[in-house]
Structure formats: structure tokens, C-alpha cells
Symmetry: C2
Subunit: 163 residues, 2 copies
Amino acid sequence: MTVTDDFLAHNEAYAATFDPAAFTPAPRKHVAIVTCMDARIPVFAVLGLQAGDAHIIRNAGGIVSDDVLRSLLISQRSLGTREIVLMHHTNCGLLTFRDDELAAALEAETGHRPTFPLGAITDLDASVRDSLTRLRTSPFLPHRDAIRGFIFDVQTGRLREVV
Amino acid sequence: MTVTDDFLAHNEAYAATFDPAAFTPAPRKHVAIVTCMDARIPVFAVLGLQAGDAHIIRNAGGIVSDDVLRSLLISQRSLGTREIVLMHHTNCGLLTFRDDELAAALEAETGHRPTFPLGAITDLDASVRDSLTRLRTSPFLPHRDAIRGFIFDVQTGRLREVV
């Protein structure tokens, strides 16, 4: 029995009481959240979100990659979101390596070198600012006047804004 | 008062009772979930997940982009995950456009054409299979023997496996 099998058993129970009328395709709060995949960030609890409120976009670090821009442009153009909350966090795994070192290790182990950036971070505040700049200067996002960036402290549960 | 300001007020309450000992950097269930940003997918409820159990990776569609591979390789190499659950969903926004049409519309409106793929889907099952193939053939993922793909039905709340 894998963890995945366990999820499927839980999903049967979820579906048994599921009410599709509780949801609309467009997020109710017209907001998109961009954050890290990290297991220590229960996004809904951290922000007081309810199911259906927001688009949730997560990757390693919560950095603004091309794929995040792709997701946000669809979110804003097709599904009516207007605000973006960007959230990195303390003790992030991206602070523990350098792109060139990890790329070399991957090449040594697998014979292949990744053709995509690995996203290493050396300074959290600078990374949030870089990601904010990427969002605020993207011509593909129609709504860029309500974009804010934060660092979530995994020791305190608190958000600190980066300006 | 923006939605973001409202989140910050909620976060004060969250931090007031926050216990960092409840979390470890490595996901407790050693699993990574890849799914869509869609507001109709409350991932934790759908799968019976608890905070701290899993890495959560989300983008428009839940398709396996380079950024998803980047996130998963860090998840598996650095943080010990072993299983991957891939989950697309019915009524996905990516079914409503074609890449070339959207790229042309963006170029007409902004003067810029995106240099990244936009991720349009024409067939959900085929898209899940494409993403599964991308995962199962990636040399950068050390653990590829427990990768399964599903479609979440937004009308029933139920997962259907794609094999």
C-alpha cells in the first residue's frame, strides 16, 4: 500500500460529500498566490484562505519562472484575478546549493546537464525583489498594481513584507 | 483594504498559535503532488493530506514543465520524496485556447510574443500521459517507480487514474 493508494481511499470519502456548487472556475477573491512547494507552508491556514478563494501556484522556492508567468497570465486574462501575493520563506532549500554546482553534480551522476535554470538563491530578500521586478515588468500581466512580496518565517509562522 | 491586507491580518492570528515543532523540512509522507492552480482543487481535502505531509507543486494545468522538473529534482534529491502524484482536472482553462492563438493575441495586445510555451491542452488523458512520460523518462529524478497520474472531476470530486 503506497501513500498514493491511501490518498485514493481518502478521495472516495471526499467525493461522497462533494458539492460542486461550492466552487466557481474563477477564484472568489480574485487573487493568485505564488509560493514554495515546501511542506512547512500550509498556505490556506497561513493566509486565512478558504477553498475556492485563490489560484495557488507553487514551485521550488516560489521564484518567478517562465512557468509562473505563464500561469499568472492565464490566471489574470482568463480567470479574472487582480492581485498577486508572492511568498518565499526562511530556511528554503534553494539557499543550500549553487546552480553550477548542482548542474555539475547532475551531469556527473546522469550524463545529462539540465538545460533549465535550477533557481538557487543566495539572499532571500534579493530573490523576492527579483521576482517582484519580474512580475511588475511583465507585459503579459494585465494587472500589475497590486503585487506584493513576503518572506514566511518557518520558525514563527509570520509574514514579513519585502519592499 | 485589499485582499492581501486581509491575509496579513489573518496571518497575525496564525502566528499567535504557531508551533514550529509541528513541521520538518522533509515532507512526512515522502510524496510530491503536482497539480493545477485551479481554485476548485482543495488539494489537502481531496487527498486527505495534513499540513507537513507533502511538497505541493502547482501551475496552470498541472502540466510537467521544466520548472516542475526542477522542483521535483530538488524535492527528491534534497528532501527525500519518493512518490509523485500528478493530477489534472476536468474543465481546465488550458482546454479553452491554442498556444499559437494565445501567443498571437498577446503579441497583438502587448507588442511582445512569449518565448515560453503556453501549455494549451486538447485532450486531458493525453496530457496526463505526456506529463507522466516526461516524469518517467527524466534522468534528473532518482525515484521514478511510484509516479501515478489522475484526472480530478470538478463535478464529482473524484479522481480517475490515467494509465
